[in-house]
């Protein structure tokens, strides 16, 4: 199986006034088609920055200082913005941590989902809304019409996250990047969402890059795992290899945290 995505020696810096702070420093990772890869690490370790860098949607003061991001054989770092916008949302889609704030408060859910469909598939607004309703059904939402007309603040976090997932899947992406999608939700909803994601993966057949600080989640879903620490990947391997013989102290810390939670 070829790599769907291959990241080589990625470096990202942030400009803060006159200073530059390195956030990602030479990350290498790869994802094969259909694979579930977890990117683990404590907050601030550079996971999210890495994820955002993949389609270059970083904050304006971030600078990609080097490396390659090869997706489907194309180096995204060398692509023009106009080519990138065709990949974002269509080939590579994202789910974020806090669905309620990552959804635009002034547009109804339907509007936000259909936006990408109209854009990437050239459908009419009416067709796009129908498509959106179907997508909502596929994320196990019972009354899609009501949700389509609702605004984010009117829905619960879990509901918003389902809607968000539906939005991300609108164009059947090859790669879904989920950045701590369950962190802001409570545990029962977390389980539901995780289950949903895995079901959807089966149905839609995307690869999943799942970012979390929580190894218990990783253990449930991951084929392979990368552990990041201070902007670098410090360990990679299958779940088993990492749990059995963690080499880096940070991995051991994460495992310790997991075991502590497990005991409670």
């Amino acid at each position: 199986m070829d790599n769907l995505l291959e990241v080589k020696n990625l470096k990202v810096e942030f400009e803060l006034g006159a200073k530059a702070i390195s956030a990602v420093n030479g990350v290498n990772l790869s994802i094969k088609s259909g694979e579930v890869v977890v990117l683990a690490g404590e907050s601030g370790s550079g996971k999210t920055v890495t994820a955002m860098a993949l389609t270059r949607i970083l904050a304006p003061n971030a600078r990609i200082k080097g490396g390659e991001i090869i997706f489907n054989g194309i180096d995204l770092l060398k692509s023009e913005e106009r080519d990138l916008v065709k990949i974002r949302g269509k080939e590579i889609a994202y789910i974020f941590q806090e669905p309620t704030s990552f959804l635009n408060p002034v547009y109804a859910i339907g509007e936000q989902i259909s936006e990408a469909i109209i854009l990437h598939q050239g459908k009419s607004r009416k067709d796009a809304l129908q498509e959106a309703a179907k997508l909502l059904e596929s994320v196990k939402i019972k009354d899609p019409q009501r949700i389509l007309e609702s605004y984010p603040h009117q829905l619960s976090g879990g509901m918003n996250q389902r809607a968000f997932i539906a939005m991300s899947l609108a164009c059947k992406p090859k790669l879904l990047i989920a950045d701590e999608p369950t962190t802001s939700l409570d545990v029962t909803i977390e389980t539901e969402i995780l289950k949903l994601l895995m079901d959807l993966k089966r149905d839609f057949g995307f690869s999943l890059l799942f970012i979390t600080h929580n190894l218990s989640i990783a253990k449930k879903i991951a084929d392979r795992i990368y552990v990041m620490f201070r902007g670098e990947v410090v360990e990679e391997g299958t779940m088993q290899s990492i749990f059995v013989s963690p080499r880096h102290f940070h991995t051991r810390e994460l495992i310790a945290a997991y075991e502590k939670i497990g005991k409670i």
Binding site: M52, T55, I57, A59, P60, E81, L84, V85, K86, I87, R88, G89, K90, A93, Y94, F96, E98, S101, F102, L103, N104, P105, V106, Y107, A108, E115, A116, L119, H120, Y151, H153, F164, M167
Partner: protein, 325 residues
Amino acid sequence: MVSYIFRRLLGIIPLLLGITIISFAIIHLAPGKPTAVEQTMNPRVSPEVRLRLEKLYGLDKPLPAQYMNWLARLVKFDFGRSFTDDRLVLQKISERIPLTLTINILSLIFIFLIGIPLGVKSAIKQGSLFDNITTVFVFLLFAAPTFWLALLFMQLFCIRLGWLPISGITSLDYEYFSWWQKIPDLARHLFLPVLVSSIGGLAGISRYMRSSMLEALHQPYIYTARAKGLPEASVIYKHGLRNAILPIVTIVGLSIPGLLGGSVIFESIFALPGIGRLFFEAVMSRDYPLIMAEIVLGGVLTMIGNLVADIAYAYVDPRIKYKSS
């Protein structure tokens, strides 16, 4: 919603009472009596006459009685007559309204038309040369005393270049003009006043818009919009601007009392018969009924403005809904 508005309107009454009692006390307890603004003593005006005039104005009664009297008439929308020329106060105010309103509305349009794009552009290009130049430029406008700027403009546009008339609203032969001559004539007269009265607001709105837009552009949903593959223009204008512009609605509401307010300074310089001068002269000549009427008008408008701002905001921002309970 209806009951919400009703409750808010009821809430105006105690505030208004507070305002009027304070102002009534201030203006009546303050030294000075209703006299001509004219700064000459006229030996032909005998002191007996002055006393008689005071009696005719009812100023010999105790203050609370005067206030109750005034309040009783206010309930019937009777604001009384001006001390200076015995004309109905309402009439004196209302004849100033069209001009004041015109200038203020034109200024408001001008402010929004220029200020919003300027602020948005600054925010998008945050830190760029454009941003820094507009920031400094806007601060400069803000920093200049109005009358000074007005005089500089007059010397430049009216004397040096001779493009615009100095003051007034119309040319003297205006009545003999046909409509296609009237409109440019009005425009030429109003240009500088509108420009000068816009400057503060222009600077304010563009700064406000800049920070509001900056805030919007740093919101998480902007990343979502980008991640969806939306073109940058769509990201900025559809997702950023729409959110950033919401508070402007509030500002429009809050501008309502300002629409009927005037600035005595630029009205004096441009010789415009606006409300600002009326109020100023009323204060200087201790024209109590007129002062009180303007305070009531100002207070009511401010409160209505706040209400309109709140309602309008609820209307445009789906996050806010007033419970009608």
